[in-house]
Symmetry: C2
Subunit: 510 residues, 2 copies
């Protein structure tokens, strides 16, 4: 039996396994500030890769980056009733702008420095960006406005979990204004597709893109679409959302323009976002019992070279050999970019370094000892195939030149292999279910990893939808989305028995 | 006489000119939130270039990026008395985590959701990062810790000015911990040099690196160094700082390690930062009466192609020609990177577009009309040499191939030309002054752009320093820094008459 690097397995306790990977892979840690985490170098390095690759896609679709204030006056929120209802319960509020000594050696907010109007720490920026749009847009010629921002936001969550749900998180939020509802809907779909292809191609994260049901819409939206990823415990993670806001926010913020006929119209707006939550999804989709496996496209370091040093004179030759190797690898190009190769010269035992990089999930770890130098070889460890069939570590001695010649292709193979593995698991764990009894059977208490049910429904609204939501809630289920990629639907709604209009995915979720 | 693009000149009203450039170059605008600005696409694009280039330098010197919480519990601040004294007067304080209806259609902070311990919105992160360092550092083997963070910070300034002084601003803050004071001082110097060379080489911003006097130290620091740039009105802008914190924060946060001999020691720490303030400096150093001039290395677009369209069938050929040109330029490399060329296809008059790009300061604007297409030419406008001697716009018709062949060298010439111009101005406006009467004469009320005085002093401390500071304050002057690059000093201190130990620069400042 294989002795894995982590003290807990996915099958043993998935939640505990997740926390262990977050810690052991140097991703993040508790900060001491309630609900806020410290994102450590390896975790932040992955976020930087996500930023770089997604930002390129956002710019390629014509959007420009801006920066808007962290603080939003209360009055901005009051204008959009649904929106404020959705967020009021979890907003951090700044009320003072100065501290003063409390006379007991401590500090308190200075009562003399109370703000006239409290400021909310942005939970999302529709209101403050909409206010800017109202200034920017006068004529149809000013449209569309296509803006994105990379920022931190705060939602005061009661139960937090690293990356998945934190009081402060990092994200990008796109905001656009258009001359017509059709154009705005097109934009919403375009960005949904940007997210889908980014997740699949860059993160090796298979997702289902689709429309959220009415009860799961973003507060103030006319339609909300999402990409949903399946974790290894079968639960869903909403990994990105794209909203069509109609003219709701334009009415609240006064975004109006003169159309070509000289009439005043309200603009149609959209918003869309992806956050550090995505990193939680990467861990739960690609991790294994030895830690994280980072897809090469987003790995801060794709190839890590560990010299096996022994405090001997021959160490120098080993380090020289490794430097030469690093230089050769850095000249290569894989997955459309220069290869990122690190020479790990930290003061630590080579075996600890090796397992450190395995737990972090560097795609390829190269070990170089005196014997490798003498033979012109390297010892190669692929993170996606760590063990041989007999359970021993699959470290292979390869001629250095052969490895360098094959390295780019190997990284591409690892990227596509991780994707194929996750894609197969997603598909294997979506079950077509024909009636409510089938759903109940699938999600009985004892089911280990039930995955998602794919069911037909009639898209009920109002009270009828509330009933559906309640029935699902009793089984801890939610409707994830109605996939955009689906054929015609026939048969009956599993909830109401009336003719079905579309298929939706049902599952447990993070 | 030249008719310039802006309604106000630098000589006419420098402060008003600055605000005009910020607005007309599409850099930033008031947000409606007190003291906070909206950074618009061109301004944010320059910030993105700054981030990219400075981040490369920070990583090349061995630092890794992390992310720490926005909120800092009050108790973290109370531990370092000088530090909290320095910042308590300008901290935004979060006291509630929920809003509730006020019964009059509005919202108020929910009294039921008052935080037990108020949270400060970070004005700087020594305390929260130091707390993490205390967890990370146990042994000398864990040192040095070399961390950087890109983040927003808030300092509640009473008088704000776009980029130069805003309640919220963006910056990077580096934080490091070391086994010895010498090592930490070396780090402080290393990062000062990173800032100096970054400013000179990437921003074309000549600066003087040196040590701040005791009264200008960062709250809690043992030594503070800065880079100081000279604006076109002769005032100084502190454009970056690097601090040696000794063991002050290590004591407050408990950053201790076991040294090689097994004894417990406190770590020595540093911090260093550069902010969006830098953009204000770029405007005030490189701008002219036609707007901003962006050095090519940090220009979001280095070459902008404006097709002269007339709603005629021939428009299509012009756009095709421009696309081809853009493709050729994008294949070039200048200043170590691929050339960034934009084809501006916005719906607007070509003349308005031209002047828009002039005001934004794109280094090269190419105009293409039907005649250019027919002749295989382009019309080239260099932002650094906009007018001919006779005051007419210096737009030159050049064979397309010749322009493409020369474009990379031209960008490099513009970069070094802007630097040389600013460097010459800095040097011409530093005046060696031998006594206090000379300082008074130099900074009389009527002096237009007095620049800086270079004087010898005895580096007084305590009450003697206070007296110096008061004398300077009466003339609205401050000591900027004691340049690191200076020879031996002789003569007497201009303030005390005692033997001088170093030379310092004195000037008015932003």
């Amino acid at each position: 039996m294989i002795k894995h690097a982590l003290s807990v397995t996915r099958d043993g306790d998935f939640a505990q396994w997740y926390q262990t990977v977050v810690a052991e892979a140097d991703m993040a840690e508790e900060s001491g500030v309630r609900g806020c985490m410290v994102i450590r170098p390896w975790g932040y390095g992955i976020w930087e890769r996500i930023q770089r690759l997604l930002d390129d896609r956002i710019k390629a679709t014509g959007h420009e980056n801006c920066y808007f204030p962290l603080f939003i006056p209360l009055s901005y929120f009051e204008k959009e009733a649904e929106h404020v209802d959705g967020f009021a319960k979890e907003m951090a509020v700044v009320t003072h702008h100065r501290l003063v000594a409390d006379g007991k050696g401590g500090l308190v907010p200075d009562p003399e420095a109370k703000l006239e109007e409290p400021l909310v720490v942005r939970p999302t920026s529709e209101t403050v960006i909409g206010t800017a749009f109202a200034r920017w847009v006068q004529s149809w010629r000013d449209l569309p406005v296509l803006i994105n921002q990379w920022a931190n936001v705060v939602r005061w969550e009661m139960r937090t979990r690293m990356f998945l749900r934190t009081a402060e998180f990092l994200w990008q939020e796109g905001h656009t204004a258009h001359a017509s509802a059709d154009e705005a809907r097109e934009e919403m779909q375009r960005m949904l597709e940007v997210y889908r292809s980014f997740a699949e191609d860059d993160l090796a994260l298979p997702v289902i893109a689709g429309e959220k049901p009415e009860n799961e819409r973003f507060p103030g939206a006319v339609a909300t679409y999402s990409i949903e990823a399946m974790m290894q415990d079968g639960k869903a993670l909403q990994a990105g959302t794209s909203h069509f806001l109609g003219t709701n926010f334009a009415h609240a913020q006064g975004i109006r323009f003169q159309n070509a006929e000289g009439e005043l119209e309200f603009a149609n707006t959209t918003s869309w976002g992806v956050s550090t939550r995505m990193i939680g999804g990467i861990i739960m989709v690609h991790g294994d019992d030895d830690g994280l496996r980072v897809p090469p496209k987003i790995a801060p370091w794709q190839i890590v070279i560990v010299p096996m040093l022994r405090d001997q004179p021959e160490d120098e030759a080993i380090v020289d050999y490794c430097r030469g190797l690093q230089g050769e690898l850095a000249k290569l190009s894989a997955l459309g970019e220069p290869v990122r190769a690190l020479l790990d010269l930290k003061q630590a035992k080579a075996a600890n370094k090796r397992w450190g990089w395995v737990k972090k999930g560097a795609p390829i770890v190269i070990e170089v000892g005196g014997r490798d130098v003498a033979g012109g070889n390297v010892s190669v460890l692929r993170r996606d195939r760590l063990y041989r069939e007999d359970g021993k570590l699959d470290s292979r001695v390869i001629a250095r030149d052969d490895f360098v010649g094959a390295a780019a292709a190997l990284l591409e193979e690892i990227q596509s292999g991780l994707h194929a593995e996750a894609r197969a698991r997603l598909e294997a764990n979506i079950t077509r279910v024909d009636d409510w009894a089938g759903v109940e059977a699938m999600f009985v208490e004892s089911a280990a990893k039930p995955g998602w049910a794919d069911v037909a429904w009639s898209r009920p609204t109002g009270a009828a939808l509330d009933q559906v939501v309640e029935r699902l809630k009793a089984l801890k289920l939610t409707i994830r989305n109605a996939p955009v990629d689906q054929g015609a639907t026939d048969g009956a709604c599993i909830f109401t028995g009336t003719p079905a209009v579309e298929r939706v995915l049902i599952g447990r979720a993070y």
